[in-house]
């Protein structure tokens, strides 16, 4: 009786309570709500950043993704994921997915059409432009966000099937610098490291990298380091990572190259170099040594704004390290002398012998989930498989693997992204096909970029969403399936090839990029040329053949199942008795070792097998502050819950809660006082190219005279300056001149 009364008065159970009661979820998931209990699970590599975390997808009986959790059995992420990974399925359900092809009608509106019409218009328009203005008048912009098999088919189709010469990727905006730096210094675009190096180092130098926010799961590896490492962060801002570091070097923006040469000078002066290593495995050190003699502490202190003691402490920390690893990200890659800066970091690692051993290396941390796949297989900068368009033997090899005439392969290199856009201005490029990237948001000097897109005769955008800034400017939108709705592989920062799985149905008529390329091949009339590319997995087999004999040889990987069993496989993984005669170091049947690094033998991919010291005198940044625009504008990642132009992350209510809704500017308190700014005030930021209004976030984490804007807000690139590194042609997003004033609004 008491119990009955008690339960009448206090409803401790009932449908609402049951909704959250946890039951064993099985599949290693621990306890989860009953309605989320999966019928099976499968693992898929995340499609946001280059860390390449494996996500365990929970499936219902129909094979549809119900939920996901971080995969505890993958060597990359060890059961962890960042908020973007946890929310990876949510953007698929967004209401603004492109569900049919959209064609701009006579009223100037995008109107749904069927695939047949879309494909006929696609082929018709681009062929018409090519006939009138030549084949090279149509270009394409690819991406680091689709699977390798898709980017390879796109590159092959566009360049070999459609006669397009100029195609580049959005990876130009993030990784081009590392590509060129590695190619020139090591003889191949080969990031040498494995994530285990974060755990093995006794000194970790993070240069222009806010690892905590941009790559939180890599930071996990730093935190797992049991050697109490010195963590040195080189960054103008006191970032989250800088605050977690043991030493923060807040150099003047874009004085990195001078700092690196100054460090080389100090290390030589201290005798903290490894002459045996330099003699055995490198070339050009004598010239380099002579060159850095001029970079005296006095000069470097003056140019970097760092106290001589800071320089000494930095050199001392590096000199004292037995296993020093150098890591860089966009702070280095996006600069006016970025390639030389990356190479200056490589030089530091080489001269101190910090290469090829656990916990060492000159290590570029990639941005996008498949930037590395793009670097090797997108057929943009390199001929498929890290080959060279200008090399006849390479063209022959690729032609024979693909069974196509060698004459279909361009003999010249493509224009870079910025040159393609300049080509539009010059009237040379008239048609553009943009795949899975958002030029109208992400390109520097956005106003000019948008004007150029608007001036095209025909712009095709292939994307998951019809609402991206670039899709809104398109004449034709092709609806693409997203991550989770298709199969393929990604290659992460540490060269690990991992599998992405199809666990959800694409909405409406959306098709995987692979299928869209197949259809385009058919409608273009070159379908037969790509008949062998019948599915992503058959395409993967083609990629294996293309890679054979290259430093990125993956011919020893059997198939997708092999990748899954091994927990991803880092390249190289050659077949030991391939036609090239290359010997697999461990034999074919050795299970893939979870973590492998390059250059343990000191042999590089250059013709003489030696790594090169490459250097050049620093140059001033292209747009220094002046009386009218007295501030330096820094841009970068805002929070770990935002990804690039936010086309996906803005679709998750959870992620939206984790970043400021509107654009904000970080302003130093001294500047704020001078300008009469209080926290939250609207501040107008102007550059020579445009202006925006942001909410002031007053913090001493930016230095006086500098202002920081996150790159995720569409307004930011209205201000940035159109300038590129001359070697990598990567945009220099991170330093331009602006003025600040309190808004009168």
């Amino acid at each position: 009786m008491t119990t009955a009364l008690e339960s009448l008065l206090r409803a401790r159970t009932g449908p609402m309570t049951d909704d959250l009661v946890l039951h064993p979820g099985e599949f290693g998931l621990g306890r989860i709500p009953a309605r989320l209990k999966p019928a099976a699970t499968t693992n898929s590599v995340c499609g946001f950043c280059s860390t390449g975390c494996s996500l365990k997808i929970h499936l219902n009986e129909r094979g549809e993704a119900l939920n996901l959790s971080a995969n505890p059995d993958y060597p990359v992420n060890l059961g962890m994921a960042c908020p973007k990974g946890w929310e990876a399925l949510t953007p698929l359900r967004a209401p603004d997915r492109a569900t049919t092809p959209l064609l701009r009608n006579e009223q100037g509106e995008l109107e749904p059409v069927d695939w047949e019409r879309a494909l006929l218009v696609f082929s018709g328009k681009f062929k018409e432009i090519q006939q009138r203005f030549g084949n090279d008048s149509v270009a394409y912009i690819s991406t680091g966000q689709i699977v390798t098999e898709e980017m390879a088919l796109l590159g092959a189709l566009a360049k070999f099937g459609m006669g397009i010469k100029h195609g580049d990727g959005n990876t130009r905006q993030c990784m081009a610098t590392s590509v060129v730096a590695y190619k020139q210094s090591f003889g191949f675009d080969a990031p040498p490291y494995t994530y285990a190096d974060f755990e093995e180092s006794d000194v970790i130098v993070l240069w222009g990298s806010n690892l905590c926010i941009a790559h939180p799961i890599m930071w996990q590896r730093v935190m797992r380091n049991r050697h109490s490492p010195g963590i040195i962060v080189i960054d103008p801002r006191v970032t989250e990572t800088a605050q977690a570091a043991t030493q923060h070097v807040a150099l003047r923006p874009k004085s990195d190259l001078t700092l690196a040469y100054g460090l080389a000078h100090l290390l030589i002066a201290r005798g903290a170099i490894k002459p045996e290593y330099i003699a055995a495995h490198t070339s050009g050190f004598a010239e380099f040594e002579k060159f850095v003699a001029e970079f005296t502490p006095g000069r470097v202190a003056g140019e970097t704004g760092l106290a001589p003691e800071v320089l000494e402490a930095l050199a001392a920390a590096i000199a004292a390290g037995k296993r020093v690893s150098f890591w860089w990200t966009m702070g280095v890659n996006q600069g006016h002398e970025a390639t030389r800066t990356a190479q200056a970091i490589i030089n530091l690692a080489l001269m101190t012998g910090n290469m090829g051993r656990p916990g060492t290396g000159a290590n570029s941390i990639t941005g996008q989930c498949n930037a590395m796949g793009s670097r090797l297989f997108s057929n943009t900068t390199n001929l498929l498989g890290g080959h060279d368009f200008t090399n006849a033997a390479h063209r022959e090899k690729i032609a024979s693997v693909l069974g196509i005439p060698e004459t279909t392969i361009p003999r010249e290199n493509s224009l870079a992204y910025d040159q393609i856009l300049d080509g539009i201005a010059e009237g040379k490029i008239r048609g553009l096909w943009v795949i899975a990237t958002n030029t109208a948001h992400s390109w520097m000097s956005q106003g000019r970029a948008r004007d150029l897109l608007a001036s095209l005769d025909f712009l095709v955008v292939q994307d998951m969403y019809s609402t991206t800034e670039t899709a809104q400017a398109a004449h034709l939108v092709l609806p693409a399936a997203g991550w989770g709705e298709k199969e393929g592989t990604f290659i992460n920062s540490e060269r690990r090839i991992g599998r992405a799985q199809k666990v959800a149905r694409a909405p409406g008529q959306a098709l995987s990029d692979f299928k869209i390329f197949q259809l385009i091949a058919h409608y273009w009339g070159c379908g037969a040329m790509f008949a062998r590319w019948s599915s992503p997995e058959t395409a993967f087999q083609i990629l294996k053949q293309l890679s054979r004999g290259q430093p990125c040889d993956i011919s020893g990987i059997r198939d997708y199942a092999h990748l899954e069993q091994a927990g991803g496989i880092q390249w190289p993984w050659p077949k030991s008795t391939g036609e090239t005669g290359s010997q697999h170091p461990l034999g074919d049947n050795t299970p893939a070792i979870a973590e492998r690094r390059l250059f343990a033998d000191g042999k590089f991919f250059t013709t003489d097998g030696r790594a090169k010291f490459i250097f050049e005198a620093p140059r001033p940044a292209p747009e220094p502050p002046d009386a009218e625009f007295p501030f330096v504008l820094l841009t970068g990642r805002g929070t770990s819950s935002q990804w690039h132009t936010q086309t996906r992350t803005a679709k998750s209510a959870v992620l939206r809660k984790l970043y400021p809704e509107k654009i904000y500017a970080e302003v130093n308190p001294a500047d704020a006082t001078r300008l009469g700014l209080s926290a939250g005030d609207a501040v107008v930021i102007r550059s020579r190219r445009g202006s925006l209004t942001a909410a002031a976030f007053i913090t001493a984490t930016v230095q006086p005279g500098q202002v920081f804007l996150p790159m995720h807000y569409a307004e930011t690139n209205q201000l940035t300056h159109w300038s590129v590194d001359p070697y990598s042609r990567q945009p220099s997003y991170k330093a331009c001149a602006v003025s600040l004033s309190l808004s009168d609004r």
Binding site: G28, P33, L655, I663
Partner: protein, 532 residues
């Protein structure tokens, strides 16, 4: 597949690829991962053994979240993982990550702060709940919310100093973090603990009672967070560093109106009117029943409207359960009783009940008036108990009781046969009430260098868009309907019938004042993120 099958229309390739796109591998077709319970259990134990307590708390102890500030770098995986592993609604999160910052330009400092329910030793949500929809687990100390008990009154949302319980519109109830008690009881780590890449969150055992008396050490609570002495939050924020002084929340400068709670705004205008009419009726002893009817109608409407504030009104019959601690419970019960008395009194007065026995009538009138005042006092205490600055007693009681007086007088003035001199009294009461209200506006608001205290934020809210215009309306309505017209009526320069539009204006003014009462309050919360 790219090469079309011969002699088929070209459309078929599109159809074929569309069909293929919609195919998913079923679990049977996949090489589904075999579930190995033991291996998983072992692995979990290995990973999380040092992150959750090995044994249950002893008497006087409870479980608590511990956040290692030195390890937390603000990746926010805890928020997402909690959302996914607990199957929360799309826009529902039980954790949040904020930021504190130092004003010291010489030592740039920011620190991300992850926050969930603090599972307080003396939880305000539990103490305020009118239906006992909160329980503090006698062993673990976890503060659990009983979702099937909740009536969706949102009072816990107002009571919690940390903005933890969140009203779920779609479900009509509040939900909040339960420290994954279902996981902890099986030796599994809570979702946020499992998901933190740097192991910054753990579950520890803390002491809450010494010799059976409530005594929790809140010294490891966070600077820049609301005062821990109110509810004794148990979360420990630990660091090996010496944190800078004067830390402030990144959203400290955010000044945004709180939700209006329209049903409550209306109810809290109508109930004082009902009480005021009843008291005026008793005191003035007018021959007309107009005041009584007016009061009863206001009360009936007020009580009816209050139901619209509930997400689960059908469960509201349990509202008496919280009488021991909850002012909301007390208010509901007392106004319920008041309504009974008021109805009986009015029925007798109107001759609808054959009980016109004068002592009974007097007793009923007095009882109704007294209960009404008591109910009103409970209404005041509901807000005072939240410990919010703008809702302190000195600011709330004059408003609620003042409304009773001005609305009672304004109604009385309109009643047939009422003395015109009431107009002077009304005008005086309105002036006094406006003065009392004006005291909430801090005179230092325009000094940008002073810290933004809750009082200054409320003042700014009241004097800036979007609330400024409502404030102006409030003053204009009171000035015209509560001061000018009554004085003119008292002076005999306009007919008494003008008291009716006067009453409407006064009611409108009080409604606006009550709206501002809800919107201009500053709700304490844990440090939020920079909030552009």
């Amino acid at each position: 597949m790219v090469a079309p099958k011969k002699k088929q229309p070209t459309l078929s390739l599109i159809d074929e690829l569309l069909a293929e796109q919609s195919l998913l591998q079923t679990p049977v077709a996949r090489a589904a991962e075999a579930f190995d319970g033991t291996a998983v259990a072992e692995r979990k134990t290995k990973i999380f053994a040092d992150l959750i307590p090995l044994s249950a708390p002893q008497p006087g102890e409870q479980y608590a979240f511990q956040v290692d500030l030195d390890s937390c770098t603000g990746c926010k995986a805890c928020v997402s993982a909690c959302h996914s592993l607990n199957g929360l609604d799309e826009n529902e999160t039980w954790r949040d990550v904020g930021l504190v910052s130092s004003p010291d330009a010489r030592r740039p400092f920011t620190q991300t702060i992850t926050t969930a329910c603090h599972h307080c030793a003396d939880p305000a949500c539990l103490n305020g709940c009118p239906v006992l929809a909160y329980e503090k687990d006698p062993i673990t100390g976890i503060v659990r919310h009983l979702d099937d008990q909740c009536i969706g009154c949102s009072y816990c949302v107002l009571m919690c100093p940390y903005d933890v319980p969140k009203y779920n519109e779609a479900r009509g109830i509040v939900r909040k973090c339960d420290m994954c008690h279902g996981r902890l009881s099986e030796g599994e780590a809570p979702a946020c603990v499992q998901a933190c890449p740097t192991q910054a969150i753990s579950i520890v055992t803390v002491t809450t009672h010494v010799n059976g008396r409530l005594q929790a050490d809140t010294s490891s609570f966070l600077a820049a967070a609301p005062d821990p002495s109110i509810t004794l939050p148990t979360t420990r924020y630990v660091t090996k560093r010496v944190l800078p002084e004067n830390l402030f929340a990144a959203d400290a400068a955010v000044i945004e109106p709180q939700p209006p709670h329209w049903p409550l705004v209306a109810m809290l205008m109508l109930m004082p009117m009902a009480v005021g009419c009843g008291v005026a009726d008793k005191i003035l002893g007018l021959p007309t029943p107009v005041l009584g009817v007016c009061g009863w109608l206001a009360g009936a409407a007020g009580l009816a409207l209050s139901v619209f504030h509930l997400g689960q009104p059908l469960r509201a019959w349990r509202v008496f359960l919280g009488l021991r601690k909850s002012w909301l419970s007390r208010e509901a019960v007392i106004f319920g009783a008041w309504f009974g008395l008021a109805t009986a009194y009015l029925a007798i007065r109107l001759g609808w009940l054959p009980l016109n026995y004068p002592p009974l009538r007097t007793a009923l009138a007095a009882g109704t008036a007294a209960l009404g005042m008591l109910g009103l006092f409970c209404s005041v205490m509901i807000y005072v108990d939240t410990k919010r600055d703008f809702w302190r007693f000195a600011n709330t009681a004059p408003r609620f009781f003042g409304s009773a007086i001005v609305l009672g007088l304004a109604s009385a003035l309109a009643a047939p046969g009422a003395p015109r001199v009431l107009g002077v009294l009304l005008a005086g009461a309105v002036v006094l009430k406006l003065i009392a209200e004006a005291r909430a506006i801090d005179r230092t608001i325009y000094d940008r260098d002073l810290p933004l205290t809750p009082a200054r934020k409320t003042s700014l809210l009241l004097t800036r868009a979007p609330l400024r215009s409502v404030n102006e309306l409030r003053i204009a309505a009171a000035g015209l309907g509560g001061i000018l017209l009554p004085l003119m009526i008292a002076a005999g320069s306009i007919p008494v019938v003008a008291a009716w539009p006067g009453l409407l204006l006064v009611a409108l003014g009080e409604l606006a004042e009550r709206y501002l009462f809800f919107r201009a309050v500053v709700a304490p919360k844990m440090p939020g993120a920079n909030h552009a």
